[in-house]
């Protein structure tokens, strides 16, 4: 019999594929925090205390084990000169890219996470949430990888072309972004985070070949993860897309979990459990594009039950989660149902 665990211990145990009292739940809630707290997304994205209040409200209304205090893709990019557009109730938008031609990659500089862009918002939010909630929740903010960040500072179509036409220039930019991302993660960890949701969003077959991802993605991902002071693996990789390069990502060190869209990609939870279940903690099971946003709590419960049966039959190595950020329009009772289903069907002492 496993004694009741707090959320942090539950998440740590799951990530090391150890025994847990029940399957943990990751909310993947970013700007839905603003909705939950009754704030405008604009103020939520620019004020760490408001982000903290919004995330705490989201936690109180849902009870998830992992919070991801984050707002948008511009938190780092704005520091590199990307112009943003802020509107009251919308996620801030990348409005004008900083890298407009290949020679601009070398003009990027290494950023100070406490000063540049809006990285400070997440850092302050982490500190604030930890002070208020202690061990009751695990904190894993979203941090984009260097290649993902490249597509936040430059038009994605241009980045894809630079992979073939201007690889040297792109590599210069990726190196600069790598240094910044390492500093950002360290600042997040110093503020009290447990790890990060490290977004390797371009590691998918419909975007890059494995060879391309190895050269422009993996190389820098490994550098980031291996450079961190903390090396206990409490980081979760996040990959969008329908054909994730799971084989590459599962081989990373210092990242014990992978979150992916198992309901929409070519790798189901069941298959991932068979192929990678002894190597890495699987983070998924709930479809954020259909079930969570379009259906009622009963459908969420059924989907969670099915996912738990497929990915958590041995009582370990899985975190129940949507496959990507949830829409701010997602009914909170559906997120809460994920936790209820975890309590009902996801007991670990089996």
């Amino acid at each position: 019999m496993i004694h009741s665990m707090n959320s942090r211990d539950r998440v740590y145990a799951a990530l090391t594929r150890g025994p847990v009292d029940r399957i943990p739940v990751c909310g993947m809630g970013w700007t839905i925090g603003a909705v939950a707290g009754g704030f405008s997304t604009k103020e939520y994205a620019q004020d760490g205390n408001i982000m903290a209040k919004g995330q705490i409200a989201f936690w109180k209304k849902t009870g998830v084990d992992i919070l991801n205090p984050t707002s948008d893709m511009g938190q780092l990019a704005e520091g590199w000169g990307v112009k943003m557009r802020y509107e009251a109730d919308l996620t801030p938008m990348l409005d004008e890219f900083a890298v407009k031609e290949p020679s601009d990659w070398e003009k990027l500089r290494v950023l100070d996470p406490l000063v540049d862009g809006r990285m400070y918002v997440t850092i302050e939010a982490v500190k604030n949430i930890r002070e208020h909630l202690g061990d009751k929740v695990a904190l894993m903010p979203y941090v984009p990888s260097p290649l993902t960040s490249a597509t936040h500072v430059c038009y994605m179509e241009q980045v894809m072309m630079d992979i073939l036409l201007n690889p040297d220039a792109l590599h210069i930019g990726l190196k600069t972004m790598t240094e910044t991302i390492i500093a950002y993660i360290e600042a997040i960890m110093d503020a009290g985070a447990d790890g990060v949701l490290y977004a390797t969003t371009r590691a998918s077959g419909e975007i890059t070949t494995e060879e391309q991802y190895r050269e422009f993605g993996e190389k820098y991902d490994r550098l980031v993860l291996s450079s961190l002071k903390r090396q206990d693996g409490t980081n979760i990789l996040h990959v969008c897309g329908v054909e994730p390069h799971f084989g590459i990502l599962a081989g990373y060190t210092n990242a014990n979990g992978i979150n992916w869209w198992d309901r929409g990609s070519n790798l189901s939870l069941e298959e991932a459990k068979k192929k990678f279940g002894d190597k890495i903690c699987l983070v998924g099971g709930i479809d954020q594009t259909t079930t969570l946003i379009l259906e009622g709590a009963e459908a969420v419960e059924q989907e969670a039950k099915e996912a738990i049966e497929k990915g958590f039959a041995d009582g370990r190595g899985m975190i129940l989660s949507p496959g990507c950020e949830i829409s701010p329009n997602t009914p909170l009772e559906n997120v809460k149902m994920m936790v209820k289903a975890a309590e009902l069907y996801g007991k670990g002492d089996r």
Binding site: E157, G205, T209, R263, G264, N266, Q288, I293, L294
Partner: protein, 220 residues
């Protein structure tokens, strides 16, 4: 078009030689090659590129270069485009600037003979309706990459209905988080998982059918 011209145009697109494409297009036009013949070779080339992409022999970087190459090669002929295959209005919904997929679909449809009115990205929702009326469109297409802006796709459909033109146009949706389930749920006539499948889907819509072409792995 002689064999040498065909080979030159074909290889330019298949190999994504974007720097040479417009010059080749100008040479072909100056040599009196008809736009339909250029279209045919571009379709041959894009069929190969599309097949390689579907089979994942290549990925997005090569697909984008090939698309840019054929668009540049067509530039000298673009004024002659009559859109005999049909007229399409397309854009990415407001508050979303991710237009890479939309651009690929626009390029592919142009090669396949459609007149495409590209509204761009971050498009106010009313503009889809206005443009459909203005250009007497057969098809209206809207896309988004963000889960946050997915509901806008249904709003556009409602606006098309409210304006009274839905009976005249088919409505298609697309984007990374969009699925057949979502498309059917909101009442869209068409959905395709990528730009290559989109050509097939649009052809079905032009016949008056509904069509949903999911990625190979999507659940039913």
């Amino acid at each position: 078009m002689n064999e040498e011209q065909y080979k030159m145009a074909y290889e330019c697109v298949v190999n994504g030689k974007v720097g040479e494409a417009q010059k080749i297009g100008e040479m072909l036009k100056a040599a009196g090659v008809d736009s339909k013949d250029v279209g045919k070779v571009l379709i041959d080339a894009m069929n190969v590129v599309g097949h390689k992409y579907r089979e994942r022999e290549i990925a997005l970087p090569q697909l984008i270069l090939a698309t840019h190459s054929f668009k540049k090669m067509l530039l000298p002929y673009v004024m002659d485009t009559k859109g005999e295959a049909g007229t399409v209005v397309m854009g990415v919904v407001q508050n979303d600037i991710h237009d890479i997929g939309k651009n690929l679909v626009v390029g592919m449809l142009q090669v396949y003979g459609y007149k495409v009115h590209d509204l761009g990205k971050d498009v106010p929702l009313d503009k889809f309706v206005e443009a459909a009326k203005q250009h007497n469109a057969n098809i209206v297409g809207a896309g988004t990459l963000l889960t946050a802006t997915m509901p806008e796709l249904e709003t556009i459909l409602n606006k098309l209905k409210e304006s009274g033109i839905k009976e005249k146009v088919k409505y298609m949706v697309g984007g990374a988080p969009i699925t057949t389930t979502f498309a059917k749920r909101i009442g869209a006539d068409g959905y395709a998982a990528d730009a290559v499948l989109a050509v097939e889907m649009v052809a079905e819509l032009m016949k008056g059918n509904q069509c949903y072409l999911a990625a190979r792995q999507e659940k039913a």
